[in-house]
């Protein structure tokens, strides 16, 4: 219960909500507005189904999120894990973006949420580790998985009905109909499989991180 508030003891800049004004503290104003204009145009096309725009958006966004996290995290090993977690969250929650609002505040609010969640988990882990050192040794090694994570390996941990749709549609670029024929999974189940699979992938990255 107290976990909700323990973060308030963290440095102010983490607890402080990300607003336009906190963002302006760093890059100059016009750079910010051009960043917003670019990202917003890309994301709007992406939401309309433009995969190229979406890829560019995610690449740009990952850069911004990475530098945001670099300024706030000491353990550099965690940064890339967290960048990926934010990207998956952006993807899985992209329906929550309100097109009338700046996409940068949406993006950084997600990044901040994931950062706080990450710090809270680390604090919690440190706490439990201290409490039961003996058990920690026998736990499956989350640290190793995180350090040496490979997408293929993470995908392997998914059930077939999620893994196959993702592999065929998302990696090999087959259509939903082709994947359905190939795997014998119905078309709607393929779509559901991709959706659920990406969600459990997000959960797994979080669990491993």
């Amino acid at each position: 219960m107290a976990a909700g508030y323990t973060l308030m003891q963290n440095p102010q800049r983490i607890a402080r909500p990300v607003t336009e004004s906190t963002l302006t503290a760093n890059p100059p104003n016009d750079a910010l507005s051009s960043r917003e204009a670019r990202l917003s145009a890309l994301f709007k096309s992406a939401l309309a189904g433009d995969a190229v725009a979406y890829k560019t958006f995610l690449t740009d966004a990952s850069g911004h999120v990475r530098s945001y996290l670099k300024r706030r995290l000491q353990r550099t090993a965690d940064i890339e894990d967290l960048v990926q977690e934010v990207l998956l969250a952006v993807h899985n929650k992209r329906h929550t973006y309100d097109v009338t609002r700046p996409v940068t505040s949406w993006l950084f609010a997600i990044a901040q949420y994931k950062l706080i969640d990450h710090l809270r988990r680390r604090r919690h882990d440190a706490h439990t580790d201290a409490l039961d050192d003996d058990f920690a040794a026998s736990e499956p090694d989350g640290e190793a998985l995180a350090a040496d994570r490979d997408l293929a390996r993470l995908l392997d941990t998914l059930p077939e009905r999620q893994r196959l749709p993702i592999v065929h549609v998302k990696i090999e670029g087959l259509s939903v109909a082709e994947t359905s024929r190939l795997t014998g999974i119905s078309e709607s189940a393929v779509k559901v499989g991709i959706h659920r699979g990406l969600k459990s992938l997000a959960a797994r990255i979080r669990g491993a991180g």
Binding site: M1, A3, G4, V18, A46, L47, A48, G49, D50, A51, V52, Y54, K55, L58, T59, S62, E80, V83, Q84, L87, L88, A89, H91, K93, R94, H95, T96, Y97, D98, V99, R101, P102, S105, W106, L107, F108, A109, I110, Q112, Y113, D117, R149, D150, L151, I166, V169, K170, I171, G173, L198
Partner: protein, 213 residues
Amino acid sequence: MKTDQLIDLLSSGAESVAPRAAERRLSLTLLLGGAGAAVIMLGVFGLNPQLRALLSVTDFWVKMTFTGVLSVAALVTTLRLARPGDVVGGALWWAVAAVAALWTIGADALADADSGRRVATLMGHTWRTCPFNIALLSAPIFVATAIALRSLAPTRLREAGAAAGFFSGAFGAFVYGLHCPELAAPFIGTWYLLGIAIPTAIGATFGPRLLRW
């Protein structure tokens, strides 16, 4: 490098996303949760037998408007809190204004009443059960709202939980108004608000655990 892989994975075969998803999911909540509350209200308490006559009573409409405004204010606030980086905005002030307006009427009613009747006006006949009945009706709405919020992306979990609880309490109170025989503004401004406070406190307490994503 691995992040690039992930970006490829996420962007390939991108599908379009229907706009206004958050609004649609929360409207569904309104429908499902409201239906659940109505079923409980009809089954457990029953519609007020005098409802037809009440339709021409101003105090009845004051009560329904009060819970209606609180519901809308809470729903708008919940929606804002369900989207990362959105501003909560002024919707909560509508709720404050509604309480202030109700208590302006309530203060008049208490001032007009004989000193012997004041306590009776405040307590009505059902003050013992009213808050708990409202809390009971809020339960299906709270469940529906929490499910909707989990599919969205609240980043301030305690506030989002409280807003969801506030909404379910206010909307539960609205539904309860179709059963409840009480009409006095001081009663509504006390016991209805207490009923709404129960799910609000529950939402604030469990929000961080319930809504985490």
